[in-house]
Symmetry: C2
Subunit: 349 residues, 2 copies
């Protein structure tokens, strides 16, 4: 039986769901793939940390966070280890970076990742900061370390985007893309379509858990710009940070504009776009656009997402994920984990 030991940097809702899936599917995968996935470290900024080279008791860890909001002092695996230390521990093979996003710098997540790679670990992440800010550096580090660095969850939750292009469109060049990639703003715009004001729609999104207490990251288009930068850097060989993306958010959209669009059979959506300008430079844009009702993107409801890729050889290919929940975001990490195991020939499949 092969064994891949995991260290989790961060233990928010995605990390906890990741652990639940590993716990529920673990024995099935042991049978199917001949590989087990013990979690040997979990670090958090304010809820304590756990470490056990033989494998942490996941049920206990989940229960403590749920009931007490933190890991308890009585937990025999309780430790004072920092995230940076955990990233380089001998007792892990893959570091799962899911700490809180810092959209202005991508740090310290990027530092956790580079520390892990330098220590010879593979890395998977759902954190868009490091990929938006340090993609080329991290790829170079990955190459030097002869390890893997995957980040499927950064865009469109569990739907394949990066794996789609890398694994299923070999020889293709991506000439451009267009998509709806930020759930919060799409949820708000859909609520406004149904008659809510911007303020009501935002409050509704916050109550449903789709918007943060400080929603500016989503509303002002920063999250969408970060994803656009990531897609440009990874799929189109560009080199842009989020601030280089031409960006308009949805805070300027009011009910009148929504109604006027509707009278003209149009729907306002926050569109992300990557394209080549006349000089062949890769450019990125995020902006609200009034689309005809018949446009496929106009029909993307709530927290669903769509990405349309224009390719040289495969034509126009689109991928859609409908109503993703937290489980689908966590699956993106599972998908990266299994992809790495397969690539390093640890899976019997």
């Amino acid at each position: 039986m092969n064994k891949i030991r995991l260290a989790l940097i961060g233990f928010g809702s995605v990390g906890r769901e990741f652990c639940r899936i590993i716990r529920e599917r673990g024995s099935e995968w042991e049978d199917k793939f001949g590989c087990s996935f013990p979690i040997t470290a979990i670090t958090t900024a304010s809820r304590g940390s756990l470490i056990n080279p033989e494998g942490i008791d996941i049920s206990r860890a989940l229960e403590e966070i749920t009931s007490h909001g933190r890991f308890r002092e009585e937990n025999p695996d309780r430790s004072d280890i920092t995230s940076m230390e955990a990233a380089a521990l001998d007792s892990n093979d893959v570091v799962v970076e899911i700490s809180t996003l810092n959209i202005e710098s991508g740090r310290p997540a990027a530092d956790h990742i580079s520390t892990a790679l330098k220590a010879g670990k593979h890395v998977i992440t759902a954190n868009k900061g490091p990929v938006a800010f340090y993609y080329r550096e991290l790829v170079e580090l990955t190459r030097k370390a002869d390890r893997r660095f995957l980040f499927e969850g950064v865009v469109m939750d569990g739907a394949p985007v990066f794996n789609l292009v890398r694994e299923t469109l070999p020889g293709c060049t991506i000439k451009g893309f267009r998509g709806i990639l930020n759930s919060t703003t799409n949820f708000i715009l859909c609520s406004m379509e149904k008659g809510m004001t911007f303020e009501e729609a935002l409050r509704n999104a916050q109550e449903m858990g789709w918007a943060e207490a400080d929603p500016s990251m989503d509303i002002e288009g920063w999250d969408a710009a970060a994803k656009t930068a990531v897609l440009i850097n990874v799929l189109m060989d560009g080199n842009l940070t989020p601030s280089r993306i031409t960006r308009t958010g949805i805070s300027g959209i009011n009910s009148d504009q929504i109604r006027t669009a509707k009278r003209n059979n149009k729907v306002i959506k926050l569109i992300c776009e990557g394209y080549l300008n006349k000089n062949g430079e890769v450019m990125g844009m995020v902006a609200p656009v009034a689309l005809p009702e018949s446009d496929r993107m106009a029909g993307i409801e709530g927290t669903s997402s769509l990405l349309e890729l224009t390719t040289d050889l495969a034509g126009k290919v689109s991928i859609i994920i409908d109503d993703p929940k937290i489980g689908e975001t966590a699956y993106a990490l599972i998908s990266d984990l299994l992809t790495i195991c397969r690539q390093i020939n640890l899976l019997n499949d």
Copy 2:
């Protein structure tokens, strides 16, 4: 420089486009991947055959077919070799099976493929017959021969379907699917939406090259049923031939029905479906269905296709290809070819 020698069984429009792409991109791929793709044999049923272990002159072959409808006697590579002989030739590494579809038995294409596998060749095909009728046998043969057998072009042209599930959704179980997968019937239904009668729409499709002189294979839902069977066998571990799919074509659809649907804001589409029944058995269905205009499938126009997969871990994921041309079907073969080269570690990527 690695070298993968290709034998083409069949040289219809997809085969010719495949050769054009290889000719145009060949030197780029030599630089990028360190691998060249000489075509060492082409066999046809009635246009003659060519063979040259060093590589056929592709431009000449294409020119002869275009200008004379067949390979000329003067061509130094002209040969009387049969398709079955070519499938086993020492001078090829990968057999590209693109002979004419036989929807009733999947043969002789399935025989070409098994002959090639037994002779130690990898096989790629865009021919749905063999996969619809002999999937399990061919997979077993592939396993025994320790070779690869890929068929991305069988469903949705150049859009990834099988690679999508195998390479980008690891650990996921496909619980069901729904899609629009036959271009001819969709093109006809869209023309009827615009006011044509069934007969006018069919004639129009034939003039545009989207329907055969004998269109019954498409019209009666056989092509859609074959694709449904393939998806069920490959993605859902089923074991159904096309005749086991519950099948209704579109020959019974008239302008009145289209108009009635329209009055109710509905659109009639030929839907393919795979699902588990109450006993957990995999079932397949092809039938015209009146969908609400707001349904994403209702918006699939002309020759575009959509496949929606319901998964256990990644939620509902859809893939769409818009307006594919012959080049996109040929790309499916290119994609399989590069995937095999990558899997056997022949690509520098």
